[in-house]
């Protein structure tokens, strides 16, 4: 799909602007203001049923629906990609019910709704990023009782989380958590950064754009204001570190992006490509080229060749 803007031509008269009714939007908006005022604290909200199942971004969509206006431009990504089912459908949903233009370019968007990635391109102060959150409670795997988790947050009692990270070190020699890596927001609240890879955690710190988080099933909203301290938990002798790859992106040659492993055939052929599809496509358009390993090149040519034959 091209990165050009897809202008919505007509809206859907049967629904209120942006699907939600005005009373619901007002309730969510008040929660958003509280969330910004108390960075990292999970504000309970009256989650509504959305026209797609829990787990597909109902929380993020309710946040987006409450903030979006006719002069916004929306980008939606799913694991970094603009062209996967979840991203395409949410983008189409808002093009239909809010009549907003959509884009695949991070720079052109005023609102970016994301599932599990922070775009590689830098974001600006005048942009908002909305995360879809499956499980907002970072302590849940350690403490199933909501009432206990709430107390731990109230009294900043986060020893349990440090112990669980320490158990990783004792068992594996390192902190084995690679996604949903817990962070402290503004030195006060322990927060789940949603299942973004820990590669993206450092981007959240001192981020210029407003970050909003919506969890539909769990009915929680939280936020990180711009320029807020976000620190990944670690130990003095085991400092936080992000993933690294031995290869660069096979398509655009980027050395500093989050890479997905793509299996190409059943002969062991594989390649690593940028998870941020727009970033990768832009670099390729700018003339950057990656090095496909020989086996990957063969498998890739076979796959692409087959697809082109089908099209013809």
């Amino acid at each position: 799909m091209s990165a050009a803007q897809q202008q919505a031509t007509e809206g859907d008269d049967g629904y209120n602007f942006a699907y939600l009714d005005e009373q619901t939007k007002r309730m969510i908006r008040r929660c958003l203001l509280k969330a910004v005022a108390v960075p990292g604290y999970q504000v309970p909200f009256g989650g509504r049923e959305m026209p797609l199942p829990y787990g597909w971004g109902t929380g993020g969509m309710q946040v987006t629906a409450s903030i979006i206006g006719r002069d916004d431009t929306l980008k939606v990504i799913d694991q970094g990609a603009d062209d996967t089912t979840n991203a395409v459908n949410i983008r189409r949903f808002f093009a239909r019910v809010a009549e907003v233009p959509t884009t695949e370019s991070t720079a052109e968007a005023s609102i970016v709704q994301t599932r599990h990635r922070v775009p590689e391109d830098p974001m600006r102060e005048d942009q908002i990023i909305v995360y879809q959150v499956p499980q907002p409670e970072p302590l849940r795997p350690l403490e199933p009782r909501e009432i206990e988790c709430r107390k731990m947050h109230a009294y900043k009692e986060y020893g349990l989380m440090q112990v669980s990270l320490y158990e990783d070190i004792a068992r594996f020699g390192e902190i084995a958590t690679s996604y949903s890596y817990p962070v402290m927001v503004g030195d006060r609240y322990l927060m789940s950064p949603t299942p973004i890879p820990k590669f993206d955690n450092p981007k959240m710190d001192d981020f210029p754009a407003l970050q909003l988080f919506g969890a539909g099933r769990e009915k929680r909203i939280y936020a990180i204001p711009p320029y807020t301290k976000v620190k990944s938990l670690d130990f003095d002798d085991h400092p936080f570190a992000v993933q690294q790859w031995e290869e660069d992106c096979a398509l655009c040659g980027a050395e500093d992006t989050f890479l997905d492993e793509v299996i190409l055939d059943d002969q062991g052929g594989k390649m690593y490509v940028c998870s941020d599809s727009h970033y990768c496509a832009r670099r390729r358009a700018e003339g950057h080229e990656g090095k496909l390993s020989e086996s990957a090149a063969r498998a890739y040519a076979a796959a692409v060749g087959a697809a082109e034959e089908e099209e013809a």
């Binding site: 008040r30 107390k151 204001p225």
Partner: protein, 209 residues
């Protein structure tokens, strides 16, 4: 809870005298909300609110816009005695439907048009340990956002520091704010309004006079 004093003989609201609300409730309130979100995410930065709406005396357009955007039957409102007039009560009752409360502690929102004589910040709901979101938000309409004494702000949303100059605040105000910020995550959040502008001051912000 006080009964609206603006009821006419038949028990309804005198709609002939009523000022209009937002011209386009859906899109105007969205616009205004985004302004408020920007104001709270960038504390100290004045934001001009769209939707030029003329509410009843003594409300400025920005104060009216915030009220029309955030208030409804879920948000008990406390208003100070200067603003507490029959036309204003009728206006809020008709456009927002928010219950008006006598005790500031019971309010989700406080509307102050005479900040010099406002109650101390601790007299509004501060939130609870486990639910800091249950605190009050205050709309403080000030005579000027530029002519008061300079106050330096620091905290989330501010890159280095920000300076605001709201006028007409009582002399205990910034001391109270220090106490408010010290009990973070509890405490009230404030929107200063004047004319068509709003400045956000969330509880997470430290202020130095």
């Amino acid at each position: 809870m006080a009964l609206a004093t603006s009821l006419n003989a038949s028990g309804g609201i005198d709609t002939a005298e009523l000022r209009p609300g937002l011209a386009d409730p859906v899109h105007d309130s969205q616009h205004i909300f985004r302004g408020l979100l920007t104001a709270l995410a960038h504390p100290g930065r004045p934001v001009t609110l769209p939707g030029d709406v003329a509410g009843p005396e003594p409300l400025d357009p920005a104060t009216t816009a915030v009220a029309l955007t955030l208030l409804d039957y879920d948000t008990p409102l406390w208003i100070d005695w200067i603003a507490d007039t029959p036309p204003l009560r009728a206006y809020l009752k008709f456009h927002c439907g928010c219950p008006l409360v006598e005790r500031s502690q019971d309010a989700a929102f406080g509307l102050v048009t005479d900040p010099e004589n406002m109650p101390r910040l601790a007299l509004f709901a501060q939130g609870r340990d486990q639910y800091p979101d249950s605190s009050a938000s205050l709309l403080l309409q000030v005579p000027s956002l530029e002519e008061g004494p300079a106050v330096t702000l620091k905290g989330p949303g501010i890159r280095e520091t920000a300076t605001i100059r709201p006028a007409g605040l009582p002399d205990w105000f910034w001391n109270d704010w220090r106490l408010n910020a010290a009990q973070f995550p509890l405490g009230v959040d404030i929107f200063f309004t004047c004319g068509r502008s709003v400045v956000g001051l969330p509880r997470s912000i430290l202020a130095e006079g």
